[in-house]
Symmetry: C2
Subunit: 355 residues, 2 copies
C-alpha cells in the first residue's frame, strides 16, 4: 500500500497536532455532482452502483478530483447489513430505501443470523480494496455502517417512517424482542466494520440516523448501549496505525457527554449544537466533527466562507476538530459552494494551529 | 360567562398548588377520534372545518365528552395568519398544508400587512366565543398560533419541506429581508392572539414547530427573538384572571434556559429531554409541559400507564407540570389508550400534590 500522504484527518481524530483543520463532507460522493449523476444513470439502480466495486470506487474518488478534501468515505449505503441478512434492500426514487421483507415478530428475529461477510458483503470489501489501491495514499478512506437502532427502524418499518409507529410499538411493548434484534445487529455490524478495516478502511463512522427520535432513557438502552458494544469489539489498529471511530447521532446534541463515554475517538455534531459549548462539555475526552447547517450551501459563496470562519473560531485553538456539515450535503446545492467550503476551512484554520 | 369549574391547568401554569397534575394533549381534537373523522368528512375540506365556527366548536368539544381532560384547545390551524395575509392556505391529503402564493422577494414582503382580525380571522374569534359558551366553564379554552419562524417556513417554501432550502437560503443570504418578514409576522401574531384573548381564550400556546431546524445562534435571532416580542405584546389578564402563555419549540431541548427567559409562563418539552433534568435547568422560572413520546400510545394500555407514572415521578413533587405528549397525538392510535393516559395522569399524580 502507498504511504499515506495526508493524515490530517486521522491526526485530528486522535487529537494529535495538525497544520490545518481537516475537512470532509457527509455524502460528498453524491447527487450534487454531475459526474456522480452520470455514473448513477449508467448503473441503472442505486444498488447496482453500491454493489459494483469499480463503480463504487469511481464515485468515491470523484469529489477528491474536484476538491482538496482530507478524507474519502467508501461509497455504499447504511443498510447493506440488513440486506445481507436477507431483507432485500431496494430503492424507490423519491421515497428512499425499502425492504422487501420486514421484521414483525419474535420468530422473524430468531431467524436472523450474522451474515458471512465475504459471501454476502464481499462487494463492499472489494470496493474498499480497489479504492485503497486507486486512492494511492492521497487521503485516508473511511468505512461505515448504520447503527443497530437505525437499522432496526428500517427493518421493522420496511422503509423511512415519519413516526416510527411499528418499531417503537415493538420497543415499548416487547423490549426483550427489540433487544434480541439489536443484539444480532450489533454483532453483525461489529463483524462488518472489522471486515472493512481488514479490507483497508482507515477510520470508521457509525451513523445513528434515528437515535434522536428516542427519549433519553430509550436512547441509552436501545441505541447507545449497542453502539458501545460495537466500539468495544472493533479492531482499533491496522497497518501500523490507529483506526479512529466517530459516532454521529443526528439530533443527539443533548447526549454528547454520554456519547463521549462510549470509547469512540470522536463525536459528530449536527448544527443545532454550538461547537464551542460542545467542546466545553466533552473536554479532552473526544474530538468533534461538524457542524455547519447544510442549508448554508444554498446561500452565496461569501456567506459560506463567513460561516466556515465562524465555526472554526467557535471551536478555537488546537487540534481535535474535523470540519463537516451537520448532515449530508443536499443534492441541489451548487458544487462551487462545496469548493468554497473546503478551501475556506484550510485557509481560515491555519491560525488556530500555530504554537 | 359561566364560572370556571376546573382551573388545574391555569393554576399549574402559574405554579399555584393543584390537587392533581392537569393533562391535555396536542391534537386532542383530531383524526384518531371516529366522531372527528365524521365531522371532517361532512365538512368536505379541512379549511371549511376550521372556518365554520359551529364545526370548529363541535370538534373542540369532542375529546372533552370522552375524556377527563383539564383543558380544551380551539380547533384551528397554525397557518391561519398567513392565509389572512392573502397567501391562500389549502390542504392536499397526505401532503399537509400548502400556500397558493409564496414569498420569494423583498417586494413580496413589503406587500404584507397586519391583517384586520375581525375581517379576515373573525371565524376564529367566533369559534372561540361559541366554544366558551358551549363549554360552560368545564375547563379553560386555549388559543394558539404558529411562531413567526414557523409561519415564514411555510410562506417561503409554499408547504412542508424536508430541508428548508428556500427559507434558509433567504435567511443566510438576505437576513434583513428575513427580519422584515418576521417583524410583520410577529406584529400579526400579537394582534391575532390578543384578539383570541378578547374573544375568550384563557391561555395561549405558541407552536414553534420548525425552530428546532436552526442552529443555536439562528434560533435566537430568527425564532426566539420574535416570540419574545409577541409575549411582550400580549394582554396577560382577562376576565379577572391571568392568561398564561406556553412556548413550545419542537427539538428545542438544548435551549430551555433561553426559552424560560422570554417572559412566558411555561415551556413545552418534546420527549428527547428528560423532564427531571429540564426542571433543574429552568428552576422556578417557568412551568413545564410534556413530554411523553406519542408512540407510547401504540403500545398496550398497561405500558401507557407505566410511562405516565414514570414521567410524573421524574417531574416529582409540587406544581408546575402540565402533562402532555411531546408532539401531537398520531391519527392511528387507539382512542382507548388516550383514556388510559388521561386517567393515569390523574390517578398517579395525586401523591405528588400532598403537603
Amino acid at each position: 500500500m502507498a504511504e499515506l500522504k495526508n493524515d490530517r484527518y486521522l491526526r485530528a481524530l486522535l487529537k494529535q497536532s495538525v497544520d490545518r483543520t481537516p475537512v470532509w463532507v457527509m455524502r460528498q460522493a453524491g447527487r450534487y455532482l454531475p459526474e456522480y449523476r452520470e455514473v448513477r444513470q449508467k448503473a441503472g439502480d442505486f444498488m447496482t452502483l453500491c454493489s459494483t466495486p469499480e463503480l463504487a470506487c469511481e464515485v468515491t474518488l470523484q469529489p477528491l478530483r474536484r476538491y482538496d478534501l482530507d478524507a474519502a468515505i467508501i461509497f455504499s449505503d447504511i443498510l447493506t447489513v440488513p440486506d445481507a441478512m436477507g431483507l432485500g434492500l431496494y430503492f424507490v426514487s423519491g421515497e428512499g430505501p425499502k425492504f422487501k421483507n420486514t421484521i414483525q415478530s419474535a420468530a422473524d428475529i430468531r431467524n436472523l443470523t450474522v451474515p458471512d461477510m465475504e459471501d454476502s458483503l464481499g462487494y463492499v470489501m472489494d470496493a474498499i480494496r480497489l479504492t485503497r489501491r486507486e486512492i494511492d495514499g492521497k487521503v485516508p478512506l473511511i468505512g461505515f455502517s448504520g447503527s443497530p437502532w437505525t437499522l432496526a427502524c428500517y427493518m421493522v418499518e420496511g422503509g423511512s417512517s415519519k413516526d416510527f409507529a411499528k418499531v417503537k410499538g415493538m420497543m415499548f411493548d416487547a423490549p426483550e424482542q427489540m433487544h434480541a434484534l439489536l443484539n444480532v445487529l450489533a454483532d453483525s455490524v461489529t463483524a462488518y466494520l472489522n471486515a472493512q478495516i481488514n479490507a483497508g478502511a482507515q477510520a470508521i463512522m457509525l451513523f445513528d440516523t434515528w437515535g434522536g427520535s428516542l427519549s433519553p432513557d430509550n436512547y441509552r438502552q436501545f441505541s447507545l448501549a449497542y453502539m458501545e458494544k460495537i466500539v468495544a469489539g472493533l479492531q482499533r489498529h491496522a497497518d501500523g496505525r490507529d483506526v479512529p471511530v466517530t459516532l454521529f447521532t443526528k439530533g443527539g446534541g443533548q447526549w454528547l457527554e454520554w456519547m463521549a463515554e462510549t470509547g469512540v475517538n470522536a463525536v459528530g455534531l449536527d448544527w443545532t449544537t454550538d461547537i464551542a459549548n460542545a467542546r466545553q462539555r466533552v473536554g479532552d475526552k473526544v474530538a468533534l466533527q461538524g457542524n455547519m447547517d447544510p442549508c448554508v450551501l444554498y446561500a452565496s459563496g461569501d456567506r459560506v466562507e463567513q460561516e466556515v470562519a465562524s465555526i472554526l473560531a467557535a471551536y478555537g485553538k488546537g487540534t481535535g476538530h474535523v470540519f463537516n456539515l451537520g448532515h449530508g450535503i443536499h443534492p441541489s446545492v451548487d458544487p462551487e459552494n462545496m469548493r468554497r467550503l473546503v478551501d475556506a476551512v484550510h485557509q481560515h484554520s491555519a491560525q488556530y494551529h500555530q504554537d
